[in-house]
């Protein structure tokens, strides 16, 4: 399960500098690490555990519990297709199939060129826009399978901000 170790830990050192070395800092540190590396490299996870004085097993437990954390390298753009009830009824399944057809990757896997990672999520809380898929930061409501290719091409920069 360990992947792509070893890795440079300087960025992690800088992140750890900014937080009190206590268990309470764990999630914030992991979030920052995830942002910096785009995943949680196992060397860094070990380092975080040692520095914060938290057992490695606890850090592993937290890192695997939250969908926001990944122990595998992620693609530049993360595609999340909502699998909630409302989206399911309004054709979320077709979006999943279309993403799979275009990218040829299984759920939670990344394309070989590291451009896209495909995730499914249980609900993104945007049922009024069902079916929804999120490309990077961009929410695509009333999504249609025929438009999925276009969404991927346009990429995931959020123009709302």
């Amino acid at each position: 399960m360990k992947e792509t170790c070893p890795v440079e830990t300087e960025q992690a050192d800088a992140i750890l500098e900014g937080y009190p070395h206590a268990e309470a800092s764990l999630i914030q540190v992991l979030q920052d690490v995830h942002r910096a590396y785009n995943y949680l490299p196992c060397d860094v996870v070990v380092k975080v555990a040692e520095t914060l004085g938290v057992p490695l097993a606890k850090v592993f437990s937290v890192a695997t519990f939250y969908k926001a954390f990944s122990l595998k390298p992620q693609g530049d753009t993360i595609i999340r297709v909502c699998m909630g009830t409302a989206c399911h009824i309004r054709g979320g399944g077709a979006l999943v199939d279309e993403v799979e057809r275009l990218l040829h990757v299984a759920p939670d896997e990344t394309t070989p060129d590291m451009k896209f990672t495909r995730n499914t999520v249980n609900c993104v809380g945007a049922c009024a826009m069902a079916p929804v898929m999120i490309v990077g930061e961009k929410y695509r409501g009333n999504a249609r399978a025929v438009r999925v290719g276009g969404y991927l091409e346009l990429g995931g920069d959020d123009d709302a901000n």
Partner: protein, 257 residues
Amino acid sequence: MPTLTINGKKVQSREGAYVLEAARQAGVEIPTLCHFEGLEPWGGCRLCQVQITKDGWDGWKKMVVGCMFPVEEGLIVLTETDEVRETRRVVLDLLLARCPDTPLIRTMAKEYGVERTSYVSNPEPTDCILCSLCTRVCDHIGVSAISTADRGAGKEIAPPFHEPPAACIGCLACAEICPTDFIPYTTSHTTRSIWGREFEMLRCEDCGRAHITKAQAEHHAANRAETTDVPQEWFRYCDSCKRKQQASRFPAVPQLV
């Protein structure tokens, strides 16, 4: 000392006790799977659910988890009502769906009238009921070599990165506390293996039987010797030789007549 009523019987309980403890003290049986006296209550298995009420509640009753609900003066506890039995039956029905081949779960479910689960049986049967006793006892010893990983349907007990855990001391506490004997290990007079690690055994200086791992004694010396007041000497002999030594000293003990 709060006085409460359990199934119509007046019971005096320890201040700060939980309903489960008070009930067991009074000889009332409440089934549990995730409870262990030496560990903090967890409330994970939901089998110890009971109903509580009080005078002045107009007969209104509330379902609570026995192992985590603190006793209080005047509390009325009901452990065998139809609602309680039905709640436990559903819990066991669900557990049986997860662990269809586990003898303990099958026996307990049968006691509540569940011969076969009414849910979809787990296509990959497991004996692990995710009670977390193993991870909690490991934390309690101060080792924390294993933890829960993932969540929801994929949740499991695992060492970090699913690799042999460096922190493990091979004490077998996790395997022995497991109510369903899910955690595999082998142990002999020379080595013990658990979680993919191999451990060297320490032998009793008297009979030569292997009794604990070297890593366990070292962990004790480094972390536990001060707080527990148990000297390193304690590990030189196995339990049965220690008993023999103790017994041989008895004749010399002055008799209290």
